[in-house]
Structure formats: C-alpha cells, structure tokens
Amino acid sequence: MEPAGIPEPLVRVVGLTMAFGGELVQRDLDFEIRRDEVFAIVGASGCGKSTLLRHLIGLQEPAAGRVLYGEHDLHRADEETLASLRRRFGVMFQAGALWSSMTVGENIMLPLRLFTAQPLALRERLARWKLALVGLEGAFDLEPAELSGGMRKRAAIARALALDPELLYLDEPSSGLDPFSAARLDGLILNLRRNLGTTVVMVSHSMDSVFAVADRVLYLDHVEKTMTALGAPRVLAETGPERVRAFLHRRSQP
C-alpha cells in the first residue's frame, strides 16, 4: 500500500546515465514521475533535457540505469510488453512531427488503426473528438503544412492522445510560439490534466510556462552533469541551489 497523500509513481528512473557519441550527457539520475502531476524538466541548452525525454520513451538506450514503468524495464522488455508500455504514453515532439504525407485526421487515425480493431467510422469519430479536445475541430482534412506552428503542436498533442495514454510527454511545448499561443497551450495542458487525468511530463525552456503549469521541476545541471534539484518550482526558486535559483529567476548564470 502506498502511504496516503503521496500518489503512486507512474515512472521510476533509477541510476540513469546517458551518453552520446562517447560523451557523458547526464549521470546518476534518480527520480519518479507521480500519477496526475505535471512534471517539468528544465536546464540550460545542451544539458540533455531532450535526450532524457528520448530515454524515457525508449528511443535511446541508456549507458547505465533503468527506466521503470511499474515493474517493467522499458529498455529490457520483450516485444509484447514493450508494445503495451508504449500504449501507456503519448509523445509530442518539438515541431509536432506530424506525418507530412497524411492529413491531420489520418495522423490521428494511424495509431488507432494499428493498435485497435475499431471500424473506420469509429476511428474517424474518435479522431475528430481528439481534435476537439485540443480546439482544432476544423483541421481534420487539412495537411500538416497548412497549419501554423501552434496548431501543429496542438494537433500533435491530439495524436499523442489518440490511444488514451495515462502519460503525455511534451518536448518544448511553448518553443517558437508567440506569448498568446504559448499561454493557450499552457491552459490546454492544465485542462488535459484536470479533465482527462493525464499525467504530463514536459521539457521546457519557458519559465513562464513552468511556473504556470508544473507541479514539480527537475533541474539538470550542465556543469555537474546530473540533477541538482527536484521540487515545486516556487520552492526551488526560493530555496534551491544557487544555479537553480538563478535559472528559475532567469538571471544569467553566476
């Protein structure tokens, strides 16, 4: 039994060390992502935020350590377990990464077609419903190239939601957006958590967005090459280590 008050972890990262081309990126990461929280990963450019995300979704192999979904190790699971683990999370890549040879609707229907046995009419209704959730009802028949940057990101969230995942990974949701679109996306993230109970893990450069939506922040330090702080953004901004405070207050590094 979990003690009351602390939600059970959805993902546990144990001793994760990441390397890229023989260079250490981050070492000894230990944290857990709890059910129903918005979890932000922050740090200076090049510190390995996006790389961590790629490890969490199984696109990159860790140099050491484990990423656990329940008791299953994502990087050592057999094909069948892996397929079921992948259905538990959806991913929005930085620029949306909508498949450019299909319409927006087809983008959302593809995961449904591959992983569910629903008939076409139902798949189409579900896809329209996911688009409505992100406020893009009218985009079903459009090509991804016809969408603006913000719409593309929201369409990508709709695609990530296609299989009703309990966990949503967002890679820099507000990068490249004007302040209004960014704020709208923040609102969407909070609504998804509140109305669908989706846990959200996001990599972010935008401190506005982190303070607006995140329950907890993980700070990856580019000098120490490991995590140096984990906690509520407001708490870390007051009592965290010097570099973390400076980062959250958007001052230049001391």
């Binding site: 979704i57 696109l59 992948r86 890549f93 930085q94 620029a95 450019s100 995961p111």
Partner: protein
C-alpha cells in the same frame, strides 16, 4: 601557416605613467585596418592600469574599434584595468560592450571534430559499410515479417509509390531508351555495313537493349528520379522527427516506409525494363530502314529471331536487381541522414552516387557471372 602580418607600428605609443601605462593613439587611422603592434614586454600585468589617450588621433573610422578591441581584449583578460574614459563616445561605447569581463576566459565552444586523416576516412567508410549491411539485414527481416503478415505496411502507401515509380517515369524512360536504340542501330549499322551484314543490325539492337541496356538505363534513370526522392523524403522525415514519432509508437520505419518503396520499385522494375527494351528495339527501325535500306519486315523478323528467352530473363533479372539496389541506396541514405537541412541534401546526393556505383558493380559482376555460366 600564418603569413607575417604587416603592422601599423606608428598608430599607438606605449609609455609608463606612474604605476601603470599610457596608450596614446596617434596619427590618422582612416582607411587602415592593419593590426596594431603588440604591447611591450613585460607589458601591463594584472591590476595595472592602462589609460587610453586619443588627443593625437587626428581621424578614425569604423575600423578603429575592432583594431583596439583586438589589442585590448587579451589585456583585459589578463586582469589589466583599462581606462577608456578619454576616448570619443562613439568609440568607447562599442568597445565597452565587446571587451570581456576582467579576468574572464574565452567562452568555450565545441571543438572542431577532426576527421582523423586517411585512417579516419577508412574507419568512416568501414562503419558506413557495416551500417549498410545492418540496414540490408533489417530489410530482409522486415520482408520476412511481411510474408508472415506481421509488418505494419500500409497498402495505400504501396500503391502511391507504384504510381510515383512506374507511370510517372514513363516519359523519361521512353525518351532515353528511344535515343539509345536509335544510336545503337545507327552506330551498329555503320560497322556492319562494311561487311555487308546490315540485316544483323537487328541482332545488335535486340540483344543490346534486352539483355543489357534497357535494365541499365532504367536503373540509372530511377536512381536520379526515384532513389533521390526516397532519400529526400525519408531524410526530411527524419530531420522533422517524424521517424521518431513512428518509432515511439512502436512502428518500425523499415516496415512502414522502406518496404512500400522497395516493393513498389521491384514490382515496377520488370514492367519498365520490358517497356524500355521494346521502345529501344522499335527505335532502331527508322535508321535501319531509312539509312541502311533494310526492309522493315526483315528487321522486325530478325529482332524476333534474336530475342531468346535467355536474353529476356537475364535482362529482366539484372535490371530488377539494379533497381532494387537503387531503392535500397535511397532508403538507406534517407533513414541515416543527419538532422538538419544540409544533411538531407547530402543524403540525396549520396543516394544517387551510391545507387549508380552499386549498379555498375552489380552490372560487371553479373555480366562476368552469366558469361562464365555459359548463358
């Protein structure tokens, strides 16, 4: 490697001033961008002051600030205390912006990666070959998954690729093979005419086109038209993280992207080659009839005599092999492209070059093989 730099040695004058130094700028600096002379040795050290004086500077232009910056930045890093207050405002302000904080180091930038000379290139080539072998292995596995009905290939992708590969290649294949057939008949006829054997032009054209040239030309055309397109499509999908999005869902990009393209190429290959051979043989008709005076019916009859099943299946087999290699080269380069726009362009070029190279190697090997087997 650096050529000795000319110095503008009269532009500044260093002198001691109390505990520190004075740097007097003098003369007319206009139109001169030469480096300023180095400070004297031992020059201003940490904590020592350097007062700049521009009283004797009669004129200066936009080169003045960068020249001074190159001289002063190392001093500031070394800890010298610079006093710029006597400089004209338009010179002082940009200098203060560009000069580093006292005692700070130059911000580290990533080191340029050395390609390691000949050995490094050999190793890169070896790794490239290993990657190609691994890719071919993955494609074979994907094909076996497809046969067991487990591959995530969409039939609609296959049909779309069929259209791109086949019908849309017809005009350029027609033109090229028509001209090749024409040349073959014309040149072959010129040689055979000397021994009065014009009626054998048909044999030259038919065997040449059916057995070798139709497949080769179709392969070359598809390398440029389709192999390059495959590399560009897959490369930009990779740059745009679309391939990551597939993999995050557990969809194998080989199943989903490579198989429809490869199968479309292999399906269309024999049809295109047969068509190309037919166009080439018919293109021989005008010069044979018009220039060498062989009756049309005799040419066509001789063509039919020359065309054996052996020539046909060897031609189709070799051509299909070339086209399969072109498809593999295009997909391999696209899937392994770098993640920026420039790499997509490079992948496209490499796909064409590799496609052509593999065609030539396969053509030589198969020609020797079939000859030695006695076909």
């Amino acid at each position: 490697m650096d050529a000795p730099k000319a110095l503008d040695s009269d532009a500044v004058r260093w002198s001691r001033r109390g505990q520190g130094w004075q740097l007097a700028l003098q003369g007319d600096w206009r139109g001169c961008a030469l480096p300023l002379p180095e400070p004297p040795v031992p020059g201003p050290g940490a904590g020592e002051s350097v007062v700049l004086d521009s009283q004797d500077l009669s004129g200066w232009d936009r080169n003045a600030a960068p020249r001074l910056w190159a001289l002063l930045a190392p001093l500031r890093r070394g800890g010298a205390v610079l006093d710029l207050s006597a400089l004209p405002e338009a010179l002082r302000a940009p200098l203060e912006l560009a000069l580093p904080a006292p005692g700070s180091a130059v911000e580290a930038v990533p080191e340029h990666v050395d390609d390691g000379g000949i050995l490094g290139k050999l190793r890169a080539g070896w790794e490239d070959a290993l990657q190609t072998a691994a890719f071919v292995g993955e494609v074979v596995l994907a094909l076996s998954r497809l046969l067991r009905g487990k591959a995530a290939m969409r039939a609609s992708d296959y049909f779309r690729q069929l259209d791109l590969v086949g019908p849309m290649s017809l005009p350029i294949v027609s033109l090229t093979c028509f001209l090749i057939g024409l040349m073959l008949a014309y040149m072959g006829g010129a040689q055979l005419e000397r021994i009065g054997a014009q009626s054998f032009i048909a044999d030259v054209v038919t065997v040449g086109m059916v057995r070798e040239l139709a497949g080769l030309m179709t392969g070359v055309i598809l390398a440029g038209r389709v192999g390059a397109a495959f590399a560009a499509q897959l490369g930009s999908m990779r740059a745009n993280e679309e391939i990551d999005a597939l993999r995050a869902l557990g969809i194998d990009p080989i199943d989903y992207l490579v198989l429809p393209r490869l199968l479309a190429m292999l399906t269309m290959a024999p049809l295109l080659i047969a068509y190309a051979a037919l166009v080439g043989v018919l293109a021989g008709l005008p010069p044979v009839v018009g220039i060498y005076g062989v009756p049309a019916w005799e040419y066509l009859h001789e063509c039919e005599q020359a065309m054996t099943w052996t020539h046909l299946w060897i031609g189709l087999f070799k051509g299909t092999m070339y086209i399969g290699l072109v498809a593999l080269a295009g997909c391999r380069e696209g899937l392994h492209a770098g993640r920026d726009a420039q790499s997509v362009g490079a992948a496209t070029t490499t796909a064409v070059v590799k496609g052509l190279l593999w065609i030539v190697v396969a053509a030589s090997a198969s020609t020797v093989l079939f000859q030695s087997l006695g076909f």
